[in-house]
């Protein structure tokens, strides 16, 4: 009989704490990565791809060091400030109890940066 059955177990507080998506920690990680990579940056088209890579790599490194059983997706948008508008929305099909996302907006005089981290429990 190969059909999967469902059954209920008692809530294990400790295991759910260790393997839950903690938005606050992730928020700090993203902010620090963006501050570190873009602090003195003034928008330059040739440098943008390097910056997005740096921000994302930094984020991923620190997320991995959290040692949680998660798959991560990190997206980063860098946009020149010149009066244009931008909207971003996301729709997710996942498990609300264990998965989560975190978005941080960062800006300076010449550019906007929006970084989002999605964490999906394994």
């Amino acid at each position: 009989d190969r059909t999967p059955r469902t059954h209920f177990i008692m809530d294990d507080l400790q295991s759910s704490e260790e393997s839950a998506f903690v938005a606050e920690d992730v928020n700090n990680i993203i902010k620090d990565s963006m501050d570190g990579c873009l602090q003195q940056a003034s928008y330059q088209a040739i440098k943008v791809s390097q910056w997005t890579s740096n921000v994302i790599e930094q984020c991923l490194k620190r997320l991995i060091s959290l040692n949680k059983p998660f798959k991560y997706i990190v997206t980063c948008v860098i946009m020149q400030r010149n009066g244009a508008g931008l909207h971003s929305a996301s729709s997710c099909f996942w498990d609300n109890t264990s998965d989560g996302s975190c978005t941080v907006r960062w800006e300076n005089k010449t550019l906007y940066c929006i970084t989002t981290v999605y964490g999906l429990a394994i």
Binding site: P4, S53, Y72, I73, V74, I78
Partner: protein, 122 residues
Amino acid sequence: TIQVLDNTFIMKPRPSERFKQGEIKAIMDEVMESKLKSRKYEHDECVDLSKDISTEIKEKVKALGCKRHKLVVQVTIGEVHGQDVRLSSRCLWDVDTDNYASASFQNADLYCVSIVFGCYYE
């Protein structure tokens, strides 16, 4: 109590359940085309428009039948104003089972970029 699904002991998605990159891209192109064909960028409308598009893409991808994939759909709509913008993403996941699809759309007044990430859930 948490509801737990019994282990199916299936390590990878069945061939019929693999992430269908080509079909998903076609869906995204179609949804963006139908919703944005001759629209102008308007701040208030775009808030709902981006949420609409992401929900619709998510529902249509679910209807394709990848039951064991968690989905993340991200939609970004921006105004065309002569500025430069770069959107990049990086993922920490299992290369054999997880994948993504992306599509973009542009008209005279606005541009739209959408990405769908699919992560296999064991």
